[in-house]
């Protein structure tokens, strides 16, 4: 027997690896290994008062900290039946967009692109292609500027609290953001040019099931209460409260990664899933860009997640600008958070973190003390799909030399944009 072991996996968040065991021509085992220590935050946060929960659980992950924070607040507010103001909803949407821009710029330019251009890192890449790395850093900065302006900090936002925001951004801050976004949008066409110039990575074809948040009335990473699963052209809605039907399997010893499935099939979450489930998000401009990138939905290539991220990156710059302009047109209110009155109950919130579906589900007692917390992260949901796609990749690789296989496996793992700190929070006792 022969094993291909990639450990540790570089240029991803956290500590993981890939193991493929071959017996002659057949594949004996394929594993996505997770070596991240278990922090047990869902247990530790029990007994905390409701306003202490988001600051602790945002620490699950830095790259998705705004998503964890806002999903936490959404779950708490649902448990207490609190309705936030329309301005708060918009600001939260904007904070999500800022995080998505930052995360996608980081992933595409600093983590994924070096593979396509045969460089070990973006810093090495900058020697030959400084304009490319600088564009990525500029867009990343813009995402962070949004997060700083709305959330008060680029990582682990401080300004988002139960019921709203500590302080609304000022008109001057929003005007500054508008100027920066108008300037930044000029980089959009360069993003498409760069992505279109990359070599095709057509080495994993698979009939894939996709799952994403469905926002009924708007295109939002934040609003909405149901997941839509897209399988073989069919769409099935799963309400937030039934989220366990998507996450109902046992933990695995090798990965701290419970394997999620929908009707027995692994599913993929993230940018590609979002665009597949919500095809109307593709504006005319994005549809042209998709054509240039040879991205056809529904896609049978998980590597296309990189292209989908590029589309979201440029689309989100426009969406963020639209939100800022709407806030400026309506006039920003200097409002305080709406009062939060604890009550005993359970709240489940589903949102779209940069890497895909994120679920926080909490139960509180009548005093507003947390009784239990369940957090399901996108990388956890993706673990089973990743392993299935690794297997397809090996099956479809004509030349099974270690170097070729390892390089392709690493590129596919990175295309999923795994966040392994997050993934540790995926296994749950049933």
């Amino acid at each position: 027997m022969k094993a291909i072991v990639i450990e540790p996996l570089a240029r991803v968040e956290g500590h993981g690896g890939i193991t493929v065991e071959l017996e002659g021509d057949s594949i004996a085992a394929v594993r996505f290994d997770v070596f991240e220590g278990a922090r047990l935050l869902e247990s530790l946060v029990r007994g905390k008062r409701y306003d202490e929960v988001a600051p602790v659980l945002s620490r699950i992950c830095s790259i998705c900290s705004a998503a964890h924070c806002l999903t936490s607040l959404k779950a708490t507010e649902k448990a207490f039946e609190v309705t936030v103001s329309p301005q708060t909803e918009r600001l939260r949407d904007l904070l999500f967009l800022g995080e998505n821009i930052e995360s996608h710029a980081l992933h595409l330019f600093l983590l994924a692109l070096p593979d396509y251009l045969n460089a070990p890192s973006a810093i090495a890449l900058a020697a030959d292609r400084p304009e490319l790395v600088q564009l990525g850093l500029r867009l990343k900065r813009l995402g962070n500027l949004i997060q700083e302006t709305i959330g008060g900090r680029a990582i682990h936002p401080v300004n988002a609290v139960p019921g709203g925001f500590g302080k609304a951004p000022s008109t001057e801050q929003l005007t500054g953001l508008r100027t920066a976004l108008l300037e930044g949008a000029k980089g959009s066409s360069a993003v498409v040019d760069i992505m279109a110039s990359l070599p095709e990575t057509d080495f994993c074809r698979a009939n894939t099931v996709y799952a994403a948040l469905n926002s009924p009335n708007q295109d939002s990473y934040y609003a909405g209460d149901k997941v839509v699963v897209f399988a073989d052209g069919e769409r099935t809605a799963v309400p937030a409260a039934d989220y366990r039907t998507l996450t109902n399997e046992e933990p695995a010893p090798h990965s701290h990664a419970k394997h999620s499935s929908f009707r027995g099939k692994p599913f993929m979450v993230g940018s590609l899933a979002r665009l597949t489930v919500n095809m109307r998000w593709l504006t005319a401009k994005l549809a042209i860009a998709a054509e240039r990138l040879r991205l056809h939905l529904p896609s049978d290539s998980p590597m296309d997640n990189n292209k989908a991220q590029a589309l979201e990156l440029i689309g989100d710059l426009e969406r963020a600008l639209a939100v800022v302009e709407q806030l400026l047109d309506d006039g920003i209110e200097d409002e305080r958070p709406v009062p939060v009155q604890p009550r005993a109950g359970t709240g489940t919130a589903i949102t779209e973190a940069p890497r895909g579906l994120l679920i926080h589900s909490y139960t509180y007692d009548a005093e507003g003390t947390l009784v239990s917390a369940d957090v399901i992260t996108p990388t956890a949901l993706n673990a089973a799909s990743m392993e299935t796609h690794f297997r397809r990749l090996v099956e479809q690789c004509p030349e099974r030399t270690d170097g070729v296989l390892a390089q392709r496996l690493e590129m596919l793992a990175r295309a999923y944009d795994p966040c392994i700190s997050c993934s540790v929070h995926l296994m749950r006792k049933r």
């Binding site: 278990a38 830095s62 010893p253 006792k429």
Partner: protein
């Protein structure tokens, strides 16, 4: 002079302090020209995992035997070891279980299979190795990181404030959230350096930077008790990010 060799490492944590480094967008390429980054798993796939290092920057807490062994190796390689962030300096949020039965916690979350995981109670770096410089914060402040690198390049040790967030907050002339709104604000006891970020946004300090060295926790607790806020409620908050820094 040759460029100092640097390694950037993340033990168990959220990778937020490494992300702060990558968030130095405007300075990143300049920074990369001043130091020789040899080992940085999150950002590059060409790593020398055995070379001696002038500076090792380590974030995260020790939460597994794998972390503990890795930290020993890093210490052996490094001339200067810098603890980056509250987890590395104090243990961070994962350390708030001090005293809890770890097998029980593992069983609750992961079921019986969890008992087989490589998992130990969270430890700050200085509980097992010598730490030459501590930069606290959850995450660290970008300005502190850049200043530390500049200082280390010049051979001077950087100095961080010993006073609490409360001092910064007063200097910024913010309304006091404790006195005026009766909110549990950890500013009087938490290490300054964030320019009182949370109170600036009208939100009470959660203590994410760990305790200030010249703060007085008992008078702080007494001030809360005078306002009818239970000692346990305050102590619980103080222990969230840096339980080791809080006396019962």
């Amino acid at each position: 002079m040759s460029k100092p060799t640097v390694g950037i490492f993340g033990l168990t944590g959220c990778a937020g302090d490494q992300l702060v480094i990558l968030n130095c967008e405007d300075r990143l390429l300049e920074l990369a020209s001043l130091i020789d980054v040899r080992d940085f798993l999150m950002a590059t796939s060409a790593n020398d995992t055995g070379c001696p290092l002038d500076i090792a920057l380590v974030e995260g807490a020790v939460l597994s035997n794998r972390d503990a062994e890795w930290l020993q190796k890093i210490r052996q390689r490094a001339r200067i070891l810098v603890a980056l962030g509250t987890c590395a300096v104090w243990g961070g949020v994962a350390a708030m279980d001090s005293g809890a039965d770890r097998s029980q916690l593992l069983r609750e979350i992961y079921g019986e299979i969890g008992l087989g995981y490589d998992s130990i109670a969270a430890q700050a770096l200085d509980q097992s190795v010598k730490v030459d410089l501590k930069i606290t914060g959850c995450p660290i402040e970008e300005k502190h990181f850049l200043a530390a690198i500049a200082n280390l390049l010049n051979g001077d040790p950087p100095v961080y404030p010993a006073y609490p967030v409360c001092t910064e907050c007063r200097m910024a002339e913010n309304n006091c959230l404790l006195i005026e709104r009766g909110e549990i604000c950890c500013g009087p006891i938490t290490a300054a350096g964030c320019n009182a970020r949370c109170p600036e946004w009208g939100v009470p300090c959660v203590g994410c930077r760990g305790p200030a060295s010249d703060a007085n926790p008992s008078s702080f607790l007494a001030a809360f008790e005078e306002r009818g806020i239970a000692r346990e409620a305050v102590a619980g908050r103080l222990k969230t990010f840096a339980p080791r820094g809080v006396q019962s």
